[in-house]
């Protein structure tokens, strides 16, 4: 399913808002028919990147190609994209059916049957004005459009706000089901990393305008481990390894180290009486982001001195 055909190519993309650098010289490619997780903290630059890729915002500098072309005012490209924004605005008197009617006209792969199925799944009221809908119902409108559009590239920018756990599970299940039958490129931005960890084939982490991780999700799963036990023994073991995080309670330490553990590592750990605990994707990304922030702070200090 992984093909080496890029559908999006970004080179040296920079976006500056007055004195804020929102996207800082970023380069990456997005492969065809792959589900990506675009992860990062609030304000990291996720929405800015997605807006630029969908021509809803301008780059300060850099080159963006979607299906090999520049997306700006390019109908050939834009009709093949669907961007589900977190804060999508609809006309004041619009009902959900109006939004779906417009989507049906715009997206050439629109599937009415899937839309109907999803409306039922999410129990979306069809006679309520969108303006009067709850946050969850509003999110459901976006999710239904994003899925039923079957666009060649679909961006979901935190599509689940206000959706309860059941509704989110419906979204994940329907996304996987429909993707399996109709492979396409999906870029899903989410804070609920552990919920999407098994769905996304590749993980793209953005932090303060820079990409700090762009990898196959499965390859990242055993990338780090928590070593727990007597602080001295832990410190001896982690010496020379990249430590992402350390905490201690009395003489017990818990240290998150980067790098898959070898069989010899595990023997050494067992012999030293140390425990190894797995690190979830969410923990790994939190630790990696914190680690990157600490390093950046340290180098800033160095520059000041």
């Amino acid at each position: 399913m992984t093909t080496a055909t890029p559908v999006i190519e970004v080179k040296n993309l920079t976006k500056r808002y007055r004195d804020t650098l929102a996207v800082d010289d970023v380069s990456f490619t997005i492969e065809k028919d792959t589900i990506y997780g675009l992860l990062g903290r609030n304000g990291a630059g996720k929405t800015t990147v997605m807006s630029i890729l969908t021509a809803q915002n301008f780059a300060t500098s850099g080159d963006v190609r979607v299906f090999g072309e520049r997306p700006y005012e390019n109908a050939r490209v834009l009709e093949r994209l669907c961007f589900v924004r977190e804060s999508q605005k609809y006309p004041d008197d619009a009902l959900a059916k109006h939004a779906f009617g417009a989507a049906r006209l715009f997206f050439r792969n629109w599937n009415e049957e899937l839309a109907r199925q999803l409306i039922e799944d999410f129990q979306l009221p069809m006679k309520t004005r969108i303006k009067k809908m709850s946050r969850g119902q509003l999110s459901a409108v976006g999710v239904i459009i994003g899925l039923a559009a079957r666009a060649e590239i679909t961006f979901f920018d935190e599509p689940y706000l206000g959706l309860d756990a059941v509704a989110r599970q419906i979204f994940y299940d329907r996304l996987l089901e429909d993707y399996t039958e109709h492979p396409r490129t999906v870029i899903l931005s989410s804070h609920l990393i552990d919920e999407v960890a098994n769905i996304i084939e590749r993980v793209l982490v953005i932090d303060r305008g820079r990409i700090i991780m762009n990898e196959e999700t499965d390859a990242v799963r055993n990338r780090a481990a928590n070593i727990v036990g007597d602080a001295n023994a832990v410190d001896t073991f982690v010496r020379g390894r990249e430590v992402l995080h350390r905490e201690s309670l009395g003489h017990v330490a818990s240290v998150t180290v980067l790098g898959a553990l070898t069989a010899e590592d595990r023997e050494r750990l067992a012999a030293a009486g140390l425990d190894v605990a797995p690190v979830s994707l969410q923990q790994l990304i939190v630790r990696t982001t914190q680690h990157a922030a600490a390093r950046a702070a340290a180098s800033d200090e160095g520059a000041l001195r």
């Binding site: 399996t180 098994n198 055993n222």
Partner: protein
Amino acid sequence: MIEEGRALFLQIAESVEDAIIDGSLAEEAQAPSTNELAAFYRINPATAAKGVAMLADKGVLYKRRGIGMFVAPGARELLLRERRAAFADRFVDPLLAEARKLGLTPDDLAQLVRDRASAPAATTEGNVR
């Protein structure tokens, strides 16, 4: 069912292997498809495909063109050999390490294993409660 910290494709492959080892998936039977595995475990189909491909590389599954993947003859024997070879590392070593920590000698351990193995099923049930 899925655990953290290990590659998913390995876990998917292991789940198929387990079914072959316990006989619920017989040799020459059709193996679950990539899409069935993806739907059942709620994972990305590309990841499931990687697990299936690994089993095919290992000779556990083979492809019948246009139909799907099937369990290869001799697959169970191959997997049993592989699992038995890994048994000491995976199960005996941690057992010994914990025993040592608790001051149990290897002889104590052997005795314990014999006792538990010959105990009637009721005892185990009692412990679950």
